[in-house]
Symmetry: C2
Subunit: 361 residues, 2 copies
């Protein structure tokens, strides 16, 4: 079992990574302070792991709510359902919410915990690769709005993250690949050595090789934890770099309607778009661009938005991005593999040309 800390002072917490952690009660017990536990999960994950988790805790303390699977669940409507359930069961401030599932469950559980009774504890038990390497760490929580992804949310750090690598064996291939997209992201933005390792090992990840997965989850979480410790609330610009490919990707997700593409798929396509735009600006060389394209292709991730999407529609959705300042869109682009920058130094026409290259319009 690997253990390390997200260094955030009084809000700091441990990440546990290992196989079979859900069968060991000590991780949960150490981090539950109050009397009640409320587990949120989804229809796909609950049949597999809910019982194992509940077994660690006294039955009279545990409540659970099983939500539909998929990005469409991450809504204000679901949130209202969660609040109602908590209130009907008279859960007080000493309740710990427990997110058992992927990024959607983690985000909505975290936001419910941030806002129920003005804030209660929560614990992340990520069961997808994407959630284990990215969304469960760092305290970004929230829900979507019809007009944009993650537009409503809060920063609320969990009490701990328990990443059981055995959960990855029940993951669909498509979900696994979506997680690999976020792993590749860390290599691209700040860890060129890791990117090179991925070039040697991506097929091992797709084959769910235990050693490769352990290494990749650990190194990804380490990268994430370092960035979060440096810029918890995304004020200095450092944390924004984690959003490489996300402004493009969110636009694809929102324009398509939530749930058509997996988040990691949209991010993969978005990272390729960011790389192409960086090349257009003369910041990234063609060779690096080709390495990025090739690695994403080997991970079997999409390299273009669905044909139905128009460049204009994507540009419209991108304009609503949270990183916009004074109406000016900011994007994470690449100077090199392992070196991302947050920038507004591009013309609208460069962005338009990039989008048209991908949308074929």
């Amino acid at each position: 079992m690997i253990q390390f800390e997200v260094q955030l002072g009084t809000r700091g917490y441990p990440i546990y990574i290992g196989a079979g952690l859900l069968g060991e009660p000590r991780y949960l017990k150490e981090h539950i302070r109050g009397s009640r536990v409320f587990v949120l999960s989804n229809e796909r994950v609950a049949p597999l792991y809910l019982e194992a988790v509940c077994r660690q805790l006294e039955p009279e303390r545990v409540l659970h709510l099983v939500l539909p699977d998929g990005e469409a669940t991450k809504s204000l409507q679901t949130l209202e359902r969660v609040y109602s359930c908590l209130l009907e069961h008279r859960c007080g401030r000493d309740t710990t919410l427990l997110a058992l599932g992927g990024g959607v469950i983690g985000d909505i559980t975290g936001f419910a915990a941030a806002t129920y009774l003005r804030g209660v504890d929560f614990i992340q038990i990520p069961t997808t690769l994407l959630a284990q390497v990215d969304s469960s760490v760092g305290g970004k929580t929230g829900v979507n709005h019809a007009l944009g992804k993650n537009m409503i949310g809060a920063f609320h750090q969990p009490r701990c993250v328990i990443a059981d690598l055995e959960c990855l064996h029940t993951l669909e291939d498509r979900e696994l690949r979506a997680g690999v997209a976020e792993i590749i992201k860390y290599g691209l933005i700040r860890d060129a050595e890791f990117f090179a390792w991925l070039e040697d090992n991506v097929e091992h990840l797709l084959a769910r090789d235990a050693e490769a997965l352990t290494y990749a989850v650990h190194r990804s979480c380490k990268n994430k934890a370092e960035v979060v410790a440096e810029d918890e609330l995304e004020t200095s610009g450092t944390r924004a770099l984690l959003n490489l490919g996300h402004t493009f990707g969110h636009a694809i997700e929102t324009a398509l309607g939530y749930g058509q593409w997996l988040h990691g798929e949209a991010v993969a396509c978005g990272m390729l778009m960011a790389a192409r735009m960086s090349i257009r600006l003369g910041w990234l060389n063609e060779e690096a661009g080709e390495r990025i394209r090739a690695l994403l292709a080997r991970a079997q991730l999409p390299s273009a938005p669905p044909e139905a999407l128009q460049a204009e529609s994507l540009q419209e959705h991108m304009a609503r991005d949270k990183k916009a300042r004074a109406g000016q869109l900011h994007l994470v682009l690449l100077r090199d593999i392992g070196q991302a920058v947050l920038t507004a130094e591009f013309s609208a026409s460069t962005l338009k040309d990039t989008l048209q290259e991908f949308c074929g319009a």
Copy 2:
């Protein structure tokens, strides 16, 4: 003009109290950091003051949304409307939300600011006495749920509070009296000298005497700011004392349906119930209880719940209070005038007897 700080380090901010402050642009300008301003107000306040506020700012920067008046507005449904409006106008993270109204507008604006794009700035311009002396200070934000008041929310401190005493001249008498209830609260929980001053001056407040109002708003805000500085997130128990009368009061408000009674009216009745219960427990003497009853009566505040309410129904609603721990209800009760305690040291039957005394059941 009186100015002083809420001492909260990097989250600290000034409170400005004076007559005619809405006509002076400098307070707003000093505290707006970004490019856009989004004013939330209600149908009663907007016709009176919205233009004066917007006049201080360049017209192209300002958006506004006018909501229905009353407690029923403080809902997740209204919040969704606010988010949609912000997104439709592409408001970015550099938007400042401005709450122009009473406690309902302040609470919902603050919570929208806490959660829109994971947090943007907001400014409080309280226009009711209750909001000026209590709800605009301290960063408690939120909305109601059908199962309980303020059950969904966050701590999010404003950038400043601008209390223009001239706004109080357009207030209905009933609203004014509701504000006086929260003023009396400060005397009861921690400021016996202020309570004595109120015994000498309550009629001056009701007559809207400028000098008396200035003194009472200032001293109330000072009390509130001191408590908030000591216990911002209500973790030590000190801040919970500000909830004297609120557990009883929230139960009345929730049982009646939001909007029947004003919050301050319910709190007044709740403080009397807390005082009677304290006497039953032998903690407060009858003479002090009589002083409390007499002052609330002179302020023309209700001394019993509406006849339709049953003691059982109130007790049911009280059980959902946010201060409950491990299923045990905690109440703010009185040892003396100026000395409140947060306690669970009472029997269910004492609470029941107290409720039955008031409900006449």
